[in-house]
């Protein structure tokens, strides 16, 4: 506290000493600050307008690319009587992978006692006297998320990708499905388990159904115990006559949650499997002869325990049909059920095939939208087989004719041919279904090219505007122009809204816009573009902009920046490069480190160094150089002095080594296969050595940052409080949090309930780092100290320690605030990676400061590369299953609007947020006060932010272009589409952080404060 007080008195002292008090100067100063404020507001609006333009572009592209499917509301009706069972018990075991249920040879290399052969119930002898059972491999259609699977499992249709986004707010299924059919036939459907069902089927379910919350993946037992208890009450202990249901459905989530929380290799999986197996056995014993028992998984899980994609392990679930009737199933020849190679060639059925199978067995009409085909095994005689084929065929035909999904003439012709064949010979009818299903799969990948095209065009134009406004037009001119931009953008947006909406209302053109919301969005985008173009073309013309663009790329480092950016962007041209993007980004960043190292060691002569030097010194070269040299005698003279070169080489090596070290932390994509060994695993994350490293970080991270501060003797006043106390305390608390989590995970018989403790810790950290620390930062924690040497008035001499880095040192404290928060939301290994990121970040700042490249393109490009490299090394990949959903439950127990979402954003985009914040440091780091005018500094910050946005926009544009190009590629949904979503989200996050925090909040406050104190 004492140093805080010192700080306050120091400030007052500096003010007294430096701010000359003549009234004329005060007036000038006030006018300057007013001008600064108004320019600042205009900058925010300008950047905001460009951001809105890009968001609209992304919205249009997404709308066109992520597919939707027309839903028909027709309902099938009864035509004839059939059916073998009156009652049915359906038990859905979430994430019951096929090899969990099937018998696995213990000699197999991938055999694991924690998840293999723990459920013997499925493999009891076939067709014994006790009944007949049938175990099948149950192939899910991607995306393998529970909501999509439930839709597919009950309607027999194919959910499209757009539904994947609505997993968190499912709506009642409007399509015909077998639950609805049961309800319409007055069958009582009783349900217990996953509350996704509540959203989808509540009107059709009995009012006694019980729903349990499904998305809290850290809760392994509540849902399962609820289901078991419910079955006890309604079924197992109740005599047959008093049971109040015809169909009893249970949906257990324990196995899925074990997968998400621990992965399949964990011993908890075995416990869960044994529990489920016993439960199924109880049900099996209790059912009567007229009851069908169906046990199934809705999807599998990959080796990390996650799902959502379309890898073999995620798609293969198990399906088990059981009845006490003997010889109920007509088994195919034995070799179809071969368990060789973990059941590689085991008989498989599609999930949608269950829909007609269930309907036929239960005597229901097949749901109208069904595309599946009944299992061969359920027909015990030739007549039955014929009847089932005929019924399904009729349903498919009626669906095809009513929906008119197939508009292609050739396909229609081929379907008619197959129909004739099938009508003559029922054994051929499955071909009709297969071809129809394939054609539908093709049809539902039809894109809206108008929206895609306008999305790409708008984004490309926004890129050009962003380049002209932030890089090409000199920042001084932009500073004068912003006041013209803002009114013209607002006016043109209004005018164009009126025009477009008018035309759309009267003529319904352009027709792809569909409704007035999209029309307004499109009109706003056009308005922003025109509004930006008017002031630009008022002063410049195309030739000038083109020449300026070439000039911008004329020096060595700008070319390197352009090269790196291009290489990163063209990585999306191939699935291989996209898969290996983590390594590529790392390689590019290391290359940059090597190039700077080369620069410092060999000091090659560059034509442009003098030009760069004058550019770095700002507009008034003669006046400011002298002053600069007084402050920085070492580094101002190019070629660099020996000491500067040594320091530069050291920082380059730090950058390279840290990049290489953090690249060793990786969660492998499934496509990387055996070429990649995952290190970001549960075992490693919660291992003793990893926690030890985290403990070491508690003193080590602050002291590393302190080292960087000491370069300019900036470790004064507020810095020791922030870095030495706040950061250290938060890191220690954070360590305690993660140590507790690790104990819970690693110690088998851990039975202390630490929930309350953990929530308290995590909320404390977040509250402190995001609110308290930022409020503290707003007070202006200055990192300078005054050393007064002689106390008598005449020869008094004062040295201001930390003067040269007054801007940067204070700004970095803000970055530390966010770092404290982001570290909490990352698992221990990712925390190590973030520690390395701090070093990389500060080294990059030092390097580009030494090279006098604060304004160069290379700085923000290096930052952009760093953000992506760290995204991958904090345990992420550009795939949907690799999103760390479990981080969403750090602050709250259940999904609560801002907190869960905040946690996941902080976890996924942590590096991007840090980089978007610190891109301003490229200008501010080692920027002494009273050298540049406040407006100049702001203009430079905006220019550097603009370059970072250009970086992200180029990546986004590249993914747009290539995902469109590869729209029929085999891997589009698995590789290219997630990458495009990631690129869009990165761009959005970067925009939001830059506009609201970097430009609007922190830069202006900092610049004003420092100028208030130091400006003479």
């Amino acid at each position: 506290m004492s140093s805080m007080l010192d700080n306050a008195s120091d400030e007052a002292y500096v003010k007294r000493g430096m701010l000359s008090s003549s009234s004329e100067e005060k007036r000038l100063y006030k006018a300057r600050i007013q001008r600064f404020d108004s320019a600042h507001r205009h900058y925010i609006v300008l950047m905001g307008a460009l951001a809105v333009l890009q968001f609209i572009a992304i919205a249009f592209f997404t709308r066109g690319f992520l597919l939707t499917r027309n839903v028909l509301e027709n309902v099938a009706s009864v035509t004839e009587a059939y059916g073998k069972f009156d009652k049915c018990v359906i038990l859905i075991v979430d994430a019951l992978r096929f090899d969990f249920a099937a018998p696995v040879d213990p000699a197999d290399s991938s055999f694991n006692t924690n998840y293999h052969n723990n459920m013997p119930i499925f493999n009891m002898s076939w067709d014994s006297d006790t009944g007949s059972s049938l175990l099948l491999k149950f192939i899910a259609d991607p995306p393998t998320t529970t909501l999509q699977r439930l839709k597919g499992l009950t309607t027999g249709s194919l959910p499209t990708f757009i539904d994947a986004g609505s997993n968190f707010n499912g709506k009642v299924i409007e399509e015909d499905n077998f639950i609805k059919q049961l309800y319409l036939r007055d069958k009582r459907v009783l349900f217990a388990g996953d509350d996704t069902w509540q959203a989808l089927f509540e009107p059709f379910l009995s009012s006694q159904s019980e729903f349990h919350e499904s998305l809290n993946v850290w809760d392994l037992d509540t849902v399962d115990n609820g289901v078991i208890d419910f079955f006890e009450r309604k079924f197992l202990t109740v005599p047959q006559q008093e049971q109040e249901w015809d169909v009893l459905i249970g949906h257990m989530l324990g196995m899925d949650h074990v997968g998400h929380k621990y992965g399949p290799q964990h011993f908890t999986m075995k416990e869960k499997q044994l529990q489920v197996s016993d439960f199924i056995d109880d049900i099996r014993k209790t059912i009567d002869d007229n009851t069908l028992l169906i046990v199934m998984g809705d999807h599998g899980m990959d080796h990390t325990g996650n799902h959502g994609g379309d890898s073999k392990d995620e798609l293969e679930a198990a399906l088990w049909l059981y009845t006490k009737q003997t010889k109920a199933w007509n088994h195919l020849p034995e070799e179809q059920y071969s368990m060789d190679d973990l059941g590689l060639n085991y008989r498989e059925v599609n999930q949608i095939d269950l829909v007609p199978t269930f309907s036929l067995l239960m005597g229901l009409p097949i749901p109208f939208n069904n595309l599946g085909w009944p299992f061969d095994e359920i027909a015990t005689s030739e007549e039955e087989s014929q009847m089932y084929s005929r019924l399904t065929l009729e349903q498919l035909k009626s669906y095809k004719d009513t929906s008119g999904v197939i508009s292609n003439q050739h396909i229609n012709q081929r379907l008619s041919d197959l129909w004739v064949l099938a009508s003559n010979n029922y054994s051929k009818s499955a071909d009709y279904q297969k071809f129809f299903l394939e054609s539908c799969k093709d049809m539902w990948t039809r894109f809206d090219y108008w929206s895609i095209g306008s999305g790409i065009t708008l984004l490309a134009i926004s890129l050009l505007l962003l380049m002209s406004v932030t890089k090409l037009i000199p920042s001084i001119v932009v500073g004068q122009m912003v006041s013209e931009f803002v009114p013209s953008i607002i006016m043109m947006a209004l005018v164009s809204n009126v025009c477009f909406n008018g035309i759309f209302h009267v003529l319904h053109q352009p027709s792809f816009l569909e409704n007035w919301i999209w029309c307004s969005l499109f009109a706003t985008a056009v308005g922003i573009i025109i509004g930006c173009c008017i002031p630009i073309f008022d002063r410049y013309n195309l030739t000038w902009i083109l020449l300026k663009f070439l000039e911008e790329l004329s020096d060595y480092w700008s070319r390197i920046a352009a090269l790196l950016l291009t290489l990163h962007a063209i990585a999306f041209t191939s699935n291989s490069f996209t898969i290996w993007e983590d390594r590529i980004v790392c390689f590019l960043l290391t290359t940059l480190g090597m190039l700077t190292l080369n620069e410092f060691i060999f000091l090659p002569k560059r034509q442009s160094t003098t030009a760069l030097l004058s550019a770095a010194n700002g507009d008034k070269i003669p006046a400011s150089t002298e002053r600069l040299q007084a402050y920085r005698p070492h580094t101002e003279n190019l070629p660099l002095g020996r000491f500067a070169r040594l320091v530069g080489a050291y920082h380059s090596i730090v950058l390279i080594v840290c990049t290489r070290l953090s690249s060793m932390i990786t969660i492998c994509r499934e496509e990387q296969g055996d070429k990649c060994t995952a290190t970001f695993t549960l075992t490693n994350n919660y291992s003793v050595w990893c926690l030890l490293i985290c403990l070491l970080l508690v003193p080590f991270l602050p002291s590393c940052i302190q080292g960087y501060y000491n370069v300019c003797s900036s470790y004064q006043a507020a810095a020791p409080i922030w870095i030495g106390q706040f950061l250290k305390a938060v890191l220690l608390t954070n360590f305690i949090y993660w140590a507790l989590t690790a104990c819970e995970n690693r110690i088998p018989n851990w039975d202390w309930d630490l929930k309350i403790v953990k929530f308290t810790i995590s909320r404390m950290i977040v509250g402190f780092s995001l609110i308290a620390a930022n409020v503290g930062w707003m007070m202006g924690p200055l990192c300078v100290k005054i050393n007064v040497r002689n106390n008598d008035l005449k020869s008094q001499q004062a040295t201001i320690l930390g003067y040269t880095n007054a801007y940067g040192s204070q700004y970095f404290l803000l970055v530390i605030n966010f770092l404290m928060c982001i570290i909490l939301f990352n698992k221990p290994l990712a925390q190590v990676s973030l520690f390395l990121m701090c070093n990389q970040l500060l080294s990059i700042l030092e390097i580009f400061d030494l090279l006098k490249m604060k304004e160069n393109l290379i700085g923000p490009v290096a930052m952009g590369l760093l953000a992506h490299q760290q995204f991958f090394s904090t345990g992420h990949q550009a795939t949907i299953p690799s999103v760390q959903w479990d981080m969403g439950f750090i602050l709250t127990e259940r999904i609560t609007f801002p907190f869960t979402h905040l946690s996941i954003v902080m976890n996924t985009f942590g590096p991007h947020i840090l980089v978007a914040l610190s891109v301003a440091l490229l200008t501010l780091w080692k920027q002494a006060p009273s050298v540049l005018k406040p407006q100049t500094i702001l203009a430079r910050i905006v220019s550097n932010c603009g370059m970072l946005l250009i970086y992200n926009t180029v990546l986004c544009l590249s993914t747009f272009a290539w995902v469109t190009h590869f729209r029929r590629h085999l891997m589009v949904w698995k590789i290219f589409c997630p990458r495009f979503i990631l690129a869009s989200l990165c761009l959005i996050v970067t925009h939001v952080v830059i506009i609201f925090i970097t430009i609007a909040f922190s830069s202006a406050r900092l610049i004003k404060q420092i100028n208030n104190i130091f400006w003479k």
């Binding site: 191939s574 898969i579 390689f587 060999f602 002569k605 290489r660």
Partner: protein, 218 residues
């Protein structure tokens, strides 16, 4: 070595081709004394320095040999590089206005130096992203190939009083060759020549070929 004794030149290690040095080189006629103190070092601009054995070896490695035996290639490289140095490169290296004779002591030293250089080179490769702890033998082989591709330049550096600046481009060209060739590693073509370190060896050869051919003109 002999020239050094004759003129009594002070040995210096220069890592930079800084301005002063270049100016002296260009104005050597005006100032002969300076020229004697800092005799010009350069490689003559002839087609004599074109290393035809490098594309030959690459062709042999990729097309003729079926097993991509990198060790055998290394032996062949060492021998051919020695011959290249003696008969082509050294004859076209000018130091102090005259061609140098081959100096067997330096030759031996530079061979040893090349072997020693494989270790920092290996470190460099690992830092750039080569596997860490696995495939170390392959990485070392790659490093050895790179070092022996640079062997003539290393020899000349030893023989010309450590004027690294002149020969820097030769080293760089090999690095750039390797750097560019990384592009084929991630591709999913499943070709046998995508195995580590084959693409980088080939890239290094091609880089060196381009380097030895054009660096004297740059």
């Amino acid at each position: 070595m002999s020239s050094r004794k004759r003129h009594g030149i002070k040995k210096t290690v220069s890592f930079s081709d800084d301005e002063a040095f270049l100016r002296r080189r260009s104005s050597k006629n005006e100032n002969k004394r300076m020229g004697l103190l800092n005799p010009p070092v350069y490689v003559r601009k002839t087609i004599g320095t074109v290393p035809i054995h490098l594309p030959g070896l690459t062709y042999y490695y990729l097309k003729i040999s079926n097993d991509f035996d990198t060790v055998r290639l290394l032996y062949m490289l060492i021998v051919t590089q020695l011959l290249f140095l003696v008969f082509q490169f050294n004859r076209n290296t000018i130091y102090g206005n005259k061609r140098l004779k081959i100096h067997f002591g330096s030759l031996a030293i530079s061979i040893v130096a090349c072997f020693l250089l494989t270790l920092p080179c290996m470190l460099l490769i690992v830092l750039m992203g080569a596997p860490f702890g696995m495939l170390l033998w392959e990485t070392w082989l790659l490093a050895a190939h790179c070092c022996f591709l640079a062997f003539p330049a290393v020899y000349s550096v030893f023989n010309c009083d450590f004027k690294v600046g002149v020969f820097k481009n030769y080293f760089l060209s090999i690095c750039i060759g390797c750097w560019v060739s990384c592009v084929v590693i991630p591709l999913d073509w499943d070709r046998p020549w995508q195995e580590w370190p084959i693409p980088l060896v080939v890239g290094g050869y091609l880089g060196a070929f381009v380097g030895y051919t054009i660096c004297s003109y740059v």
